[in-house]
Symmetry: C2
DNA sequence: CCGATAAGTTCAGGCACCAAACTTATTTCC
DNA sequence: GGAAATAAGTTTGGTGCCTGAACTTATCGG
């Protein structure tokens, strides 16, 4: 009820266009008649809507359907791979990456440029990002496809209302208007540019491409330098009032413990973050740690088990609060999944109130470090699928 | 996109009816022209929709508007106090209460029946509840008003999808279908019966009647025997996937601490619940504790400050996760607000990442123990306001 | 008492959906 | 090989709801 808009016939068309496109996205190759049956619209209406979507090159009318039995064959409908693409951009601490995704979710042009963004002034980093954006846009142009939207993933707090990057502690940035800055330095479009937190985008990538068959409610935990959480509920990202949600790293999990950069003590990040685990296992890096875990070394397994306990304490609280039935481990934790999952799961099933009705599952992220860029690109594309008229109308 | 329905003209009318009714609910006494300006609909459309809503006795066409300057006066529109009412029922551990609320939110017939529901078999309690329901329905009938919806508040986990009360630990109940059981024993209507958690309903009551001027995002913490939280975001209740959300009592706030009934250690409930505070202050009950606090006694203030620290640890985590800018203290904590608020606020402002952009406020619940029933009744009424056509159409 | 201003109503027009009849394509069976 | 059966997709007429503009009603200022 924030400020709802009045509805008219155009609203109906808009809603139904999205409904039709969504049905086709969920079951590619479906016929007009199939869409009508699935959506509850009449065949006449579906035909009219599909024509519009085909004209806007969001759909393609591939050949006839294969089916047994009598009757005319329908024409298979699918999202058009020649329709608008989504561009994903990730500004991480030690790299900049871009990727281009079509409506079906297929990835073209994925490219990562390692570089140290921490030690550079903001302007210099933005110039580098702008160059990456222009390269990707050039690629799309060469391919002859339209870029219908852009998603930018950053490791920091992004205010949903303004799109401003409010704070990126690990980059040392504050109050940066990324779309404006990049428009000044590149051919970034003025419309359809999204900015979001990398952990949130990674969670969305997991939702759309993770292959955890139909899982629509989970908490995605990505442990890198910090610990971020992306909360997905009923297939939608939950990011709080201003978009600052999901800050799991500073969960107060103990009253003591080392002092954190945020000023407090007992933050999860300090107790179960990558650095803490490596320290306690006395391992120089993750690869060595994994080797030692595979060899079954005592100190290594104990360190991971300790982290599992702290993580379990934090996540049990999260699950009790949000009533979410699954945890997906990403980032560093994805690699540690074989050793983390069982102790974590047993910790959670003991402490989560809803567990008796549906046990908590602890899954492993299927995507690697690409998750965030891909989520950003896919978000841009999903925006079009969720409201095709917004894309069609201005043209 | 769970399974969206197709839209047609009726959808448009439905949406706009809600829009008009909502505008009038937000600013009672507004004229048709005013509604048109606020909603963006034309005067013609507003007139037509208002006529329908008046015919359904959801709106009243009170006398002319008062205003300076030239021009015809509009007719004041308000929610009709003779329209459908909402019935609230609360089944607590030591009482059953009912209340009747009209569309404007005014409370008629509030009644509380003390009784010990813990020591009685389910059937006996339900019979008592049924009697209370029938009395309230009789009251509504005597008044000549329609009961358009019923909300039932219970201290337990309610599954949103089925409406089943899955578990009420303090009542010792499990898997009870309250609407069905009560329909068997009373004149409870078959349609429009909601079941929900008392903490969630209390939070909603606070949202609608709490008078925290326009506050639409907060966590309502009600400390009684357990500790429950109601999360309100953008004016809507957030209760997780299955409706089990908001379980704050078993937040893992320490790795040690006394063993809890849930089997774990370090649950917030055991460390900062009413019982824990009284124990540490060596006070026999809440009244005595408050007296001692007012007298400034050391043990009493220390006990409350200790609870504030534990609460702060849990709530800072919640606020980081959900990005909500305010905490409302209800139940026991409302009485302790003068002593809890400051330490809690300073704790939170230190640990919440978003605090620099909008300081966290710690408010006191304006409603007493009535909050839950009133929230339940108001929910029933709000359901009608949010979708008047669903109420009008079947008639 | 008239002109200006604003609220509320009436009515033709358009748009999107629906139902039903119709056309087209394919299989099945004689 | 041809007719009946079945199913996909299109065409057409009808209905509901919103809009814009003209119109009626009510009130104030001079």
């Amino acid at each position: 009820m924030t400020h709802a808009r009045p509805a008219g016939q155009h609203t109906v068309r808009r809603h139904n266009s999205a409904l039709v496109l969504g049905a086709i996205a969920e079951s590619p190759g479906i016929s007009r008649a199939g869409v009508a049956a699935r959506t509850g619209l009449t065949k006449a209406t579906v035909s009219s809507l599909v024509d519009r979507l085909v004209a806007a090159s969001l759909l393609t009318d591939a050949g006839p359907e294969r089916r047994d039995g009598p009757g005319r064959r329908g024409t298979s409908l699918s999202l058009s791979p020649r329709g608008p693409h989504g561009l994903g951009v990730e500004i991480a601490v030690d790299y900049v990456s871009t990727c281009l995704v079509d409506l079906t979710g297929a990835v073209h042009h994925h490219r990562t440029r390692p570089c140290d963004n921490r030690s550079q002034p903001v302007g210099r980093v933005l110039t580098r990002v702008a160059k990456a954006v222009d390269t990707a846009l050039g690629d799309a142009a060469a391919r002859g496809v339209d870029v219908g939207g852009v998603g930018i993933a950053v490791p920091g707090l992004v205010e949903t209302s303004s799109g401003l990057l409010r704070l990126a502690p690990n980059l040392g940035w504050r109050d940066v208007d990324l779309p404006a800055e990049l428009r000044r330095r590149s051919a970034l479009p003025g419309d359809g540019v999204l900015v979001g937190n990398e952990a949130n985008y990674a969670a969305l990538a997991e939702l759309w491409a993770g292959g955890h068959d139909g899982l629509r409610d989970f908490v995605h935990v990505s442990g890198e330098i910090g610990i971020g959480a992306g909360i997905v509920i009923e297939g939608a990202l939950f990011d709080g009032t201003r978009g600052f949600g999901g800050e799991l790293g500073h969960f107060a999990v103990s009253s003591r413990g080392p002092r954190c950069s945020c000023g407090a003590r007992g933050c999860l990040e300090r107790l179960a973050g990558q650095e803490a685990i490596l320290d306690r296992a006395a391992a120089p890096d993750l690869d060595v740690l994994v080797e030692r875990l595979e060899a079954g070394e005592r100190t290594a397994t104990a360190a991971v088990r300790g982290a599992a306990d702290w993580l379990g304490a934090a996540l049990s609280s999260v699950l009790n609060l949000l009533d979410v039935p699954a945890v997906v481990l990403g980032g560093t934790y994805a690699r540690l999944h074989p050793w983390l999952a069982d102790p974590l799961a047993s910790h959670l099933s003991g402490r989560v109130m809803g567990a008796p009705w549906s046990p908590v599952s602890v899954l492993r992220s299927a995507l690697g470090t690409e998750a965030a860029v891909r989520g950003a690109a896919a978000s841009a594309v999903r925006t079009i699928i969720a409201d095709p008229d917004a894309y069609i109308a201005p043209r």
